[in-house]
């Protein structure tokens, strides 16, 4: 069983850490270097976790738990107008990053109002590309209850964050956290920080269910292994966008144009199979500049193999 952890420290002797991760068969999920400081999110076998932690301490860093590492979360507000942004949407996104996830902030084109709020099909499909979504609503109970209907058709797990506790919308989303509505200032008081932690913990619990269902029918290949294989592909290696490859629980987002690189990606060999055979590869709904890879489960691959025979 692989476990995810984060090293936070200096670059001094960090080569030793990377060597050890490689030796134990682990994978670096994310690496951020800022001047002489380094953070590394890694996935390592459970039995080697202690040895890695010891090395991290020996080289002067600290080890932190990152329960949301390897996930990409969308934090969605009704709009990107100043009524809803940047507080509390950015505060929530920041908290999730502290938990190790990659976050994006989204606003809907026509999400404002009560009777006129809409979520288009494209917006819904974009949200469905992420591992989970947090919808941040406002201060009025009747508005929240009406707008909660918008997220009913979103397929990924969703957490609804709102000021008052809405009633009768429990089936629209996986979890509801109340007590955070529209705000005009940063969430920095102790009760507000506790509320942010509650949101992150709720999301973690929601994703735990998704991870459990993936364990029951495991993926053909772990996304981190695909990431390792693709890391040296030049267009990805040379890509200047932050985090050119982002891990999802069931695949990954690769930030290179689909039309130019589809063929290469489909023909990459993974455990003796073409990636195109063991994963669905399609362009992101945002635009053509990103690719979504959804790895099929082992049972799916077996079924398809049988059907072919």
């Amino acid at each position: 069983m692989f476990e995810v952890m984060m090293y936070d420290g200096g670059v001094y002797r960090s080569e030793e850490l990377f060597e050890m991760i490689e030796d134990v068969g682990g994978v670096v999920l994310q690496k951020n270097r800022s001047s002489q400081m380094l953070t590394v999110i890694m996935s390592v076998p459970g039995e080697d976790k202690e040895a890695i932690s010891k090395l991290c301490n020996d080289i002067g860093g600290v080890v932190k738990e990152v329960p949301l590492a390897g996930t990409e979360i969308a934090v969605v507000g009704p709009t990107l107008g100043r009524h809803h942004m940047p507080h509390p949407i950015c505060d929530i996104a920041e908290e999730l990053r502290r938990y190790g996830s990659i976050t994006v902030v989204m606003g809907m084109a026509r999400g404002r109002g009560k009777a006129t709020a809409q979520m288009s099909r494209t917006e819904r499909e974009i949200v469905d590309e992420y591992d989970a979504a947090i919808f941040v609503m406002g201060n009025f109970k009747s508005c929240v209850e009406t707008k909660a209907e918008l997220i009913r058709d979103v397929h990924v797990p969703t957490v609804l964050v709102s000021g008052p506790k809405p009633e009768g919308v429990d089936d629209c989303c996986e979890a509801i956290v109340s007590g955070v509505g529209r705000k005009a200032s940063r969430m920095r008081t102790p009760p507000e920080r506790a509320k942010l932690e509650e949101i992150a913990d709720t999301l973690e619990a929601v994703l735990r269910d998704k991870k459990r269902s993936l364990e029951e029918d495991p993926l053909f290949v772990h996304p981190a292994e695909v990431k390792t294989i693709l890391e040296n592909y030049e267009p990805i290696n040379m890509c200047l966008r932050p985090a050119p490859m982002v891990l999802h629980l069931d695949g990954l987002r690769i930030k290179i144009p689909y039309s130019e690189h589809r063929e290469y990606l489909e023909n990459v060999m993974v455990y003796g199979r073409r990636l195109g055979d063991v994963a669905d590869i399609f362009p992101s709904k945002i635009d053509d500049s990103s690719i979504i890879v959804r790895i099929k489960t082992r049972s799916q691959v077996e079924d398809e193999d049988k059907a072919r025979q």
Binding site: P78, R112, S185
Partner: protein, 186 residues
């Protein structure tokens, strides 16, 4: 600033009272406002935001925001309200030229060839501009989707009646009622 909230949503009422205070303070408008009444009815939806200003924003001339003293070659101006300093300087430069306006310190100016009477006629801020800024601040505090708005303005009372779709006569009547209760014309 005294805020009264009328609404049947306890969480929303408390949150909007705090939001109004915070946003007005952020925009430096809280000091201008004496009394506030907010009607929050999200179910309809109808929102009425009514405020009473401490004083009606009017035209401001140079002597209103500074002290003016006659001297041998012109006048000496000491700016007393800092926010008007750029407007005063711009108005004096425009009329007397840069060479005739000598700025001793940030707030002390010598203006050659000027008279007290001339300065008393120079307007540095019109009341309209202040009202527009206050209106902008009120709009910012209102919920974003409530776009259909009617503004009632009488002296130092400003009331904004807003809804999401059609502004019905009874909504406007409710707005007028609140406007009158704050001291505006019925």
């Amino acid at each position: 600033m005294d805020i009264e909230v009328i609404g049947d949503d306890p969480f929303g009422s408390e949150a909007y009272s705090k939001l109004f205070d915070e946003i007005m303070s952020d925009l430096n408008k809280a000091v201008l406002i004496d009394k506030v009444k907010l009607l929050l009815n999200p179910k309809t939806p109808l929102f009425v935001f009514s405020i009473v200003l401490r004083a009606e924003p009017g035209k401001k001339t140079i002597p209103d925001v500074s002290t003016v003293r006659m001297e041998t070659e012109g006048v000496h101006v000491t700016i007393t309200q800092e926010r008007y300093a750029p407007d005063i300087l711009a108005a004096l430069w425009k009329r007397y030229g840069r060479n005739n306006v000598y700025q001793q310190t940030r707030f002390d100016l010598d203006v050659k060839g000027a008279t007290e009477a001339e300065l008393a006629e120079m307007v540095v801020s019109s009341g309209e501009e202040d009202k527009r800024e206050i209106m902008g601040a009120i709009w910012r505090t209102m919920p974003e989707g409530i776009k259909n708005r009617r503004t009632l303005m009488d002296g130092n009372v400003i009331t904004v009646v807003a809804t999401e779709e059609v502004l019905l006569p009874e909504m406007l009547a409710k707005g007028r009622e609140i406007h009158a209760s704050m001291g505006g014309a019925a």
